[in-house]
Structure formats: C-alpha cells, structure tokens
Symmetry: C2
C-alpha cells in the first residue's frame, strides 16, 4: 500500500546461524545458547526490528539444523516481528516437509512466517540426506518448482527426478498468508538472479564479503528478467543479507570486529557470536 503512494518501505532484521561458540570462539552450552537466542528474538520484537532469520546448517559448529522448531519457540514469545529461514537448504530437503513446517509456523505466529530458500553455501546436507553434488542445480530447480506448486494448490499434481511424484495428495496445514512469502536466496551466480526474476520471486542477496556495489548489475538483471516475464515491478523486492557489527560504543564495536575477522574470511560470520550477527534488510522498492 505504501508503494502505491510512491514511497519506499524498508525492513531491517537480524539473521543468526545459532553458532555453538561464544565471542571468544569457546564452546557454550547448546541449551543455554538456544534459550538466549529465543530471548534475543523476543528483544528484537520488543525494540521494533522487522524480521529475524535463522539459518540451516548440518555441522557441529551450528545449532540450526531445524530452523522451524527454533522459530516456533520464537513465535510463542513475539507479537509483531516476522520470522524467516535464512536460508532453508531446499536442494537437500523435501519441499512437502518444508512447507508443512513453515505453514505450521505461520499458524503459530498468526501470519508472520516467511522463508528464504537457497542452494546453501555449505554442502554437508548433501551426503547426510543422500543427494549427489553433481545434481546441485537440478535438485534446486526441481524442488523449488514443487514448493511453489504446493504453495499454490492444496492438492498437488507433480512429478520429477529427485522425489516421488504427487498425484493429487493434499498438503496440510495450509498457512494463514496466501500466498505464503517465499524469497529466493542467492549468492553471486547470475543464473540465480535471472531465475528469481523469471519466477517473480522476491530476492535475498547474501553478501558475505566484498563490495556491495558489485551486486548492482546482478540486481539489474533480476529486475529486467522480471519485467521481460511480465511481473509487476512492485513484486520485484530485493533484500540484502550482510555482515553487521553491533555494540554499545564504537570502541567495543572495533574490538568485536577484530575478534571476528579471523572467522569472517571463511564465511563463518555467525561464529562471531552475539556481538556480530548477519543483518538483513528487506526493501519493497
């Protein structure tokens, strides 16, 4: 509605990978860590942040292999903040279960759930769930197609190479929001930007390092592709997931950046713990 008035609406949020380490890279109690994380989401809701995202990883360093369960806890403690995955590794997941998890989250949160789906930047989930890396792209394309069909239809007709066919089975529960918000999470691959544009899906760009402006041509590609496929410009939303450092004072912030620098080169930004968390900005314009 605000877009109709020619104004720009910007949403700001925080993403976390639920790192199993504290600021000094020491292991913390996993149970305390998740309790603190839910408290942080509660606090983010209270101070008026727009969105909180939880990643999905399948390795010892992170406690977020089941993001929808963590977000379910957050739903019960929050009132306004939107809750999303950041990102759901769709290639190695079953779109039916993913949709069921997030539809349930949408019901629990009274319509505040979203998901960002991507191919993921880690590959641990492939051998864990029996998928081959050589199918990296076809797995994602096929599963995204199924996920969007489930979003559109209560009873699904679909067949593909990497998952059993659906011949009209119903997928339940149905979410509050219709259509349920599904963002496409992308890294630096041009084809991914073009895919999001062709499908008319909102775009979440993961900028783990480097200069933000180098993404400009890719975002132009997204918008142009969307236009060519006949999608209305107000559907073509762009979000950015980037490193952020938050502290009480500049001095504290500098110290925390120094502590984190050793990790962030490897992309392990959430290892930096509470004082350095990925931030995401969703823009409707």
């Amino acid at each position: 509605m605000i877009a109709e008035l020619g104004e720009t609406q910007m949403q700001i949020g925080i993403d976390s990978f639920a790192a199993a380490y504290d600021d000094a890279s020491l292991a913390v109690s996993a149970s305390d860590r998740l309790r603190n994380l839910v408290e942080q989401i509660e606090f983010a809701d209270q101070v008026g942040l727009d969105v909180f995202g939880i990643g999905e990883h399948h390795r010892r360093d992170y406690l977020d292999s089941a993001p929808a369960v963590i977000l379910g806890a957050a739903a019960a403690r929050t009132h306004r903040i939107r809750l999303t995955s950041a990102v759901t590794v769709l290639s190695s997941a079953d779109p039916v279960r993913v949709f069921q998890n997030f539809a349930t989250l949408d019901l629990l949160s009274q319509g505040r759930a979203e998901m960002v789906v991507g191919r993921g930047s880690f590959i641990d989930s492939f051998p864990l769930f029996g998928f081959k890396l050589e199918d990296y792209d076809s797995l994602f394309a096929e599963k995204l197609d199924l996920l969007l069909k489930i979003r559109e239809n209560e009873h699904v007709h679909w067949s593909g190479k990497h998952r059993a066919a659906l011949t009209g089975q119903g997928v339940y529960p149905r979410p509050v929001q219709n259509p349920f918000p599904i963002w496409l999470g992308v890294g630096g691959t041009p084809q991914s930007f073009a895919r999001a544009g062709a499908l008319g899906l909102p775009l979440m760009v993961a900028i783990i390092g480097g200069e933000t402006r180098r993404f400009r041509p890719l975002i132009d590609l997204y918008r142009e592709t969307g236009k060519r496929f006949g999608h209305s410009p107000d559907r073509m939303r762009v979000g950015v997931h980037a490193l952020g450092y938050v502290a009480r004072t500049t001095q504290e912030r500098v110290r925390s950046v120094m502590t984190c620098a050793c990790w962030s080169n490897g992309g392990d930004l959430s290892r930096c713990g509470n004082s350095a968390t990925g931030t995401s900005a969703h823009s409707t314009n």
Copy 2:
C-alpha cells in the same frame, strides 16, 4: 530411583491431534486453534500435568503434520512439563530429520523432550512421501534401527534399503538428555510388543477402544521378551494412550461423551475437540 525403593511412580498427561474442528465438529480458524493449543499446554504445565503429546497426521482434519514445531512453541511457554510426539510416524519420515527436530526441542526445553515413534494408524503419509504400503513393516524396522544408532552416536555408520547410507556423517545438534527418551508406540500387534521388549525400549500402548485388560497378555509378552534379552526390569516402562473425557461436572462430561461417540468409533478421538482429548499415563513400574 523410586523403583529401587519398591514404590510406583506414575506420570499423567494429555495427547492432542490438533483437530481442525471444535466440539460441535465445525471447522475453526487454524491459527486460533494452534494458539489455543499452545495455551492449553501452558495451562497443563501450570496445573502440574507431567507430559503433553502432539500427534502427527497428514490430512485436512488435523493441524499436526509438524509436531516438533508446535512443541517448540510450547517449550517457550512452559517450565516443567515434558513434551512429546504422540506418535511420530517414523516409517515415512527421515530419522535424521526426526532426530534433529527433537534434539532441537530438547535444547529449547532444557531437556524436557521425548518422542514416541510408531507405524501410525493412518496411511496418508505413505503416498505423500513416496513410500509403499507393502514395505509397512520393513520401513519401520529399518528406520527405528537408524534412529537408535543416531541417538547412540554423533557420527553414524549405517546402511539400509529405504534410505541413503551414512558413512560417518555427524548428526547435529545433540540433545541435552543422553540417552534421549524414545518410546515405541504400539497398537495391538504382538510382534510390536515383542520388538519393544527385545530393544529394551519403553512402551506406549494406544488403546483407542475396547477393554484395557485385553492388553495384559501383550504387556506380559513385552516384559518377558525384555527379560529374555537381558534388559533390566526398570527399563521396561509401560504407558497407555486412551480416550479420556474431562469436564467441570459429571453432567457436562456425559454430554461431551455423547457428542464424541459418533466420532470415536472411527478412532478420530481428537475430533472431539477440547473437551475430550486422549490422555496418556506413563508408568515407571
């Protein structure tokens, strides 16, 4: 420990299938229904019930296709009550994802999670997830074997017929409780009672109708099998899931039983809504 003193410890709880219908069998808002369910679990915690269970179904009538997400919400609102699935339909699930979901729930609840795994009394999940009914029993046996291996080992070596092999991959996060409590949910099949006994797993008997005493010989079979396989008698715990009717007065209770009778013949007990919910009693003796 109480068993060593020769005393009996009994736990009492409630199971819900999150029916999408109210007491008069009318459809209710799915979002309100789940919000109310979480409030009911919160209340159950406050009044001192020991356990709350959420079923798993994949049909329009029920909102519980993702029980761990609902229980995640409940974990954030409760302090003492134990939270369990009732039951997880393991045959058509991936034991890795099931373990990840419930380990996350265990962390969020500071060690209050359990799961009851079974073959399920509905068959909707088989075509939905691409499994064949002719593999009904071998699916369950194999997946239970994998689930128990994951519970025992952080890094899993396993191979089977119905799921990709694991060659030492780690499964994370690890739960607070070790061993994480896994119950075997059974109906009336003698082989299922014997299986639970042979594995030394606690037993949850679903009594949907009929006389309770007809289960006595089957429970004897469970205990005898456990003994033969060398399991200590205090490991052989028995729980019962049965229809229960709760109301303020006897008159109200009778009226609610009458309303429910039409449904309970089909086993759809949770369709009876809030006034009639399955109750489960866990006994350590």
